[in-house]
Every structure is written in structure tokens, then in C-alpha cells.
């Protein structure tokens, strides 16, 4: 039963990931990417890492992919006539990547993994929280700083908008009046 579920999830992951890299239309690719994220989240649930699974859905599906869709739609006009997805001699890349996969898979098969017999702790989320607050406090704080920096950075990069405001009629009048006042002051 679990094997069947695993195979289903694994094939979904691989199929959607392949579609991510070969879809011509970037929005389709993004939607397949979301499917991949979702399937990976399901895999985490199957591996009994509920917290990570839910965090995966929250962060990747709920936030990252929506950001991606947002960015695509803001830069959408260009994408209508996107050039072919592949750049240059793609078959070389494909061959190299297949070679890498072969190396990795043979290595995985060759390593004698020391599997554990330990039972899973019953409540895992509090354990994780405690670990973050004790052993991993410094990385945790660093992650917070990274997020803050990213937040500020993203805002600063994408800002710009404010300066290009279209003036309203009232703004125009005020500006004209201001100019007139200055002219009056300048020429007594």
C-alpha cells in the first residue's frame, strides 16, 4: 500500500518536474512547478515529517509560487512570444545531466546505509521547536536576519513605483500655483 503511494508520488514529482523544464509557456511551467512542490510536500507527509510537509506547502505553494506567478504576470507581455525554451546545444546538457544521474544512482546503490531501528518520537513538532530554540538558536536568528534583509532588499529593488506617480488635477493646480508664487517672489 505505502509502496504504491510512494511510486505514485514519485512519478508525479518526476513527471511534473520534467514538464517544468520543457514547457514552452512559462506560466504552464510555473503551474507544473507548483504541482512538483505539492507532491514533494506529500512525500514529506509520507516520511512522517508533518511539520516540514506543511511548511513546504505554506512556503512553496502558498508564497514562493504565488510570487513567481505574480512576477510572470508583471513581465507578461514579453512571455507571449518567448523564444524556444532551450538555449544552445541542449543535447550536450542533457547528456551531461544523464551522466550525472547515472553516477549519483550508482553511488546510492553502492553505499551500505546504516538503517536505524529507533522508533519515531511521538510528538515531533515540539521537539523541533525546542531544537530551534536551544541547539540551533544562532542559525535560527541568522535565518530571521536573512529573511529581514531579503524583505527589505525586495522592497527596495521593486520600489521605484512611488516616484512615477501620475499627477492628479489637484496636483497640477497646486504645482501651477506654486510656480506662479515662486515667479512672483522672484520678480518683485
Amino acid at each position: 500500500m505505502v509502496t504504491v503511494i510512494f511510486i505514485a508520488i514519485a512519478s508525479l514529482i518526476i513527471a511534473s518536474a520534467v514538464l517544468v523544464v520543457i514547457s514552452r509557456e512559462i506560466v504552464r511551467a510555473a503551474l507544473w512547478l507548483i504541482a512538483t512542490f505539492f507532491a514533494v510536500g506529500a512525500l514529506y507527509l509520507l516520511l512522517e515529517a508533518e511539520f516540514i510537509g506543511v511548511a513546504q506547502v505554506l512556503v512553496y505553494v502558498g508564497a514562493v509560487s504565488i510570487l513567481i506567478l505574480f512576477a510572470i504576470m508583471l513581465t507578461r507581455q514579453h512571455e507571449r512570444h518567448e523564444p524556444a525554451w532551450r538555449a544552445g546545444p541542449w543535447w550536450i546538457a542533457l547528456a551531461g545531466v544523464i551522466g550525472l544521474a547515472a553516477v549519483l544512482i550508482t553511488t546510492i546503490g553502492a553505499v551500505p546505509w546504516r538503517l536505524t531501528d529507533d522508533d519515531l518520537p511521538v510528538s515531533r513538532a515540539p521537539q523541533l521547536g525546542t531544537a530551534l530554540m536551544r541547539e540551533y538558536l544562532l542559525p535560527f536568528q541568522l535565518a530571521a536576519i536573512v529573511l529581514l534583509v531579503a524583505l527589505i532588499g525586495a522592497v527596495v529593488i521593486a520600489m521605484e513605483e512611488r516616484r512615477r506617480r501620475t499627477p492628479t488635477l489637484a496636483d497640477d493646480i497646486a504645482a501651477q500655483r506654486g510656480a506662479a508664487d515662486r515667479a512672483e517672489d522672484g520678480t518683485p
Binding site: 506560466v27 506543511v54 511548511a55 509560487s65 504565488i66 505574480f70
Partner: protein, 423 residues
């Protein structure tokens, strides 16, 4: 992961393989939840239309069935028989799948909500996070609808809805975080259990009767958190005054503009179900969920089934009350503008939610830590639990009130400098 479920006790199949029983159990519960959801949605539409009509000196639908209660079924039949239109320019599959992607996560939300004493389909250890995660998926559906329709209004609506979802999700989760601190866990099923007893003090006073009224809304942390949460729930559920994604007077119907027939109905169902799920969630987290006078008494008297039924009634009562509050708000106020909406989320709700989390931490420290954890600075050990709660309530009330006043003051609109029209 799987809690004992009432239905599984009813449904005893001898000599059946374990996985079959599990599968049947889950299928039955899913069926009950989904059919219940559909019926709820129909009732919601009817209640909304009648209630708004009442506020507007009208009668509302009153022809189909007694008092028009079957109106939603008639509407549903109409929707089914409508022509299913796919715009020629649309991205066919994205357009078709969008309503499903919008509805599915909302149906998934129903699974982890505790519907009554012992009535939980799935008790997830990370229930609160799960709700937040799953509810954010429906944004993808809206985005697909907006993009797949190839319509400017749809695209504008989708962009607006995503901006709104992201902005309000943050204070929403932070408001929940305060309660997570208070309960010391993210399991939704446990939350109502912790809200027994009497207002504010819960079950901390020995000898006090269990009225089932120890709701978090009666504590300062829960009150502020509950208000923030409910406002954010209005925004997440796209209710007025936060219905800008589908502002009909501005962008026709937002992301739903190009949808017709059943696909439109699916969006409609998704929205109402989301509203109801959010109302139930507010009730569970802040209003004691299924707790209410009489539940504990029935359970003590050995009438477990009656207690479960009463608790279900309490929960539904609270959820419907909150939904009706949403309806009344819809009938009473206009919608905000996009920029006002954003600044409300970031300038009012987010700082208040953050202060509320700090208050919650202080509450936990004052009620649960011993003097040693305070570094012997606070001699709290000598106080009885209810006295410690009183002190904590006082401290957090002062903090939250001060923060609210401060946030309201710093955000007051600058003294108007209008274009003066010379006489």
C-alpha cells in the same frame, strides 16, 4: 496521527482488513463533510440573501419552498443548465482547472476542524499551520483563473486577490500564533479542550463549575487576537469591506469574469465554504469551539453522545453567528480601496498582531513559569494559579490597550491639507 473517531466506533466491520476499514472510515467522513459543506453553502446563500434583504427593507427570495429556503437549489439547477463558455483566447486547461484548484484546498480545511466533543476527522499535530498552508493554496486557483481567462479584468482581479491574500495572511497567522503560545501546541483539536471552565480563569479556580466558558476571547490576548483574526478572515474570504478582488462595480467580477455555469458555481461554493470554514476556525480558536454550558455536565453524567451533539450545536451556533456578522458587515459598509486595504494590513493589523504575540509570551511567562525561570526576579510561586492569571490579564490588558491606542494614533490621517479654493 489518526484519532479515535466516533464513526469508526459505529462502523465495526468484523474480519475486514485494516486498510479497508480505514479507507471506508475516511470515505464516509469525507462524504459527510462534503455533503454537509454543500448543504451549508446553500443555507448560507439563503441566509445571506434574506438577511441583507431585511436590512434593505426588502423581502429577499421567498418563492421557492417555504420562505424561499430552496432558492439555492433552484439557482444550482440554473447553473447546471447554463452554457459552459470557454473564451477562445483562454488557456483551455488552466481555465478549466482553476475552479477546482480554488475549491479543493478549502474542502481540505474542513478535515482538521474539531466539529464537536470527539468529532474530529483528523487531529493533526500541526493543525493551525496546516490551515494556513492549505488556505494559501486557493490563491493559486485564483491566479490560474485570472491568467487563464486572458481578460484584463480577470487579470486585475487575480493580482488584487493575491496581493490581498498575501498581505492579510501574515497578521492572520501571527494572530493565531498568540493562541498557539497560550495552548502550547498547534493542534486544533486540543484548543476547545483548553477553553473549559469559567471566563478568563478557565478551570484554574478549584471548585468552580465547568461552564465551558473559558474562551480565549475573554482574555486580553485572545480578544485582540480574535479581532485581528476576524478582520483578516473577512479579507481572506473576500468579504466586504475587503471584496476588492471581485469588486463588481470596478472590475466586473474580477477573476471570475469569464466563468459561466458550473465553473462559476464552483468559485461561488469555494467562497462560501471558505467563509464558513473561517467562521468555524474563529469559533474554535477564540470562542471556545464546541465548549458551552452543559457540555461538561452531560459528559460527566455519562451521556457522551448527548454531550457530543450539544457541543456540535454550540459550535454551529457560534459559526453561524460569525457568518451572520460577516453578512451584516457586508450590507453595511462599502469596500476599501486597494491602497487603503494594503496600508490597513501593514500599518494597523501587523503591528498589533506582533504586540499581541509579545503579550501572549508574557501571559505564558506569568502563568506557567516558576520564579527560577524568571531568575528569581518575580516571586510568582506564592500565588495561586487564578491569582497569577489575574496578574497576567491585568498586565496584558494594559499592553494591548496601550498598543491599540498607539497604533490608532500614529496612523491617524495627517491633518488634511486640501486644495484651498480661494473665495
Amino acid at each position: 496521527m489518526n484519532r479515535t473517531i466516533v464513526i469508526s466506533q459505529i462502523l465495526v466491520i468484523e474480519q475486514a482488513p485494516g486498510w479497508l476499514v480505514a479507507a471506508l472510515n475516511h470515505a464516509i467522513i469525507a462524504g459527510v463533510l462534503l455533503i454537509g459543506g454543500a448543504i451549508t453553502m446553500m443555507l448560507q446563500v439563503w441566509v445571506e440573501r434574506r438577511l441583507i434583504a431585511r436590512m434593505q427593507d426588502r423581502l429577499g427570495p421567498n418563492r421557492v419552498g417555504p420562505e424561499g429556503i430552496l432558492q439555492s437549489i433552484a439557482d444550482g439547477i440554473k447553473m447546471f443548465t447554463k452554457e459552459d463558455i470557454i473564451p477562445r483566447a483562454a488557456d483551455r486547461w488552466v481555465h478549466l482547472l482553476a475552479p477546482i484548484v480554488a475549491l479543493a484546498p478549502i474542502a481540505m480545511m474542513l478535515a482538521v476542524l474539531p466539529w464537536g466533543r470527539g468529532l474530529v476527522a483528523v487531529d493533526l499535530e500541526v493543525g493551525v499551520l496546516y490551515i494556513a498552508a492549505v488556505s494559501s493554496i486557493s490563491g493559486v486557483g485564483l491566479m490560474m483563473a485570472g491568467w487563464g481567462s486572458r481578460n484584463t479584468f480577470a487579470l486585475l482581479g487575480a493580482m488584487r486577490s493575491i496581493a490581498q491574500l498575501i498581505a492579510y495572511e501574515i497578521p492572520l497567522i501571527i494572530a493565531l500564533l498568540g493562541i498557539v503560545l497560550l495552548t502550547g501546541g498547534m493542534s486544533l483539536a486540543r484548543m476547545p479542550e483548553l477553553q473549559a471552565g469559567i471566563p478568563l480563569f478557565g478551570s484554574s479556580i478549584p471548585g468552580a463549575p465547568d461552564l465551558g466558558l473559558g474562551w480565549f476571547i475573554f482574555t486580553p490576548v485572545g480578544l485582540l487576537g480574535g479581532i485581528i483574526f476576524f478582520i483578516c478572515a473577512l479579507a481572506e474570504g473576500e468579504r466586504t469591506p475587503f471584496d476588492i478582488p471581485e469588486a463588481d462595480s470596478e472590475i466586473v467580477a474580477g477573476y471570475m469574469t469569464e466563468y459561466s455555469g458550473m465553473k462559476f458555481a464552483v468559485f461561488y461554493i469555494a467562497q462560501y465554504l471558505l467563509n464558513f470554514a473561517l467562521a468555524v476556525l474563529s469559533a474554535v480558536v477564540f470562542l471556545g469551539g464546541w465548549q458551552g454550558p452543559g457540555v461538561a455536565w452531560l459528559a460527566d453524567a455519562g451521556l457522551g453522545a448527548a454531550a457530543s451533539l450539544l457541543s456540535l450545536l454550540w459550535l454551529l451556533l457560534k459559526a453561524w453567528g460569525l457568518f451572520m456578522l460577516m453578512v451584516v458587515i457586508r450590507a453595511a459598509v462599502p469596500r476599501l480601496r486597494v491602497d487603503q486595504l494594503m496600508s490597513f494590513a501593514w500599518k494597523y493589523l501587523l503591528p498589533l498582531a506582533l504586540v499581541n504575540v509579545a503579550s501572549a509570551a508574557l501571559w505564558v511567562g506569568l502563568t506557567e513559569w516558576s520564579s527560577i525561570e524568571w531568575g528569581n526576579l518575580l516571586p510568582v510561586d506564592g500565588l495561586a494559579p487564578w491569582q497569577r492569571i489575574g496578574v497576567a490579564a491585568l498586565v496584558t490588558a494594559v499592553i494591548n490597550l496601550g498598543a491599540t491606542r498607539w497604533v490608532l494614533r500614529i496612523n491617524r490621517a495627517p491633518a488634511a491639507a486640501p486644495v484651498v479654493v480661494p473665495a
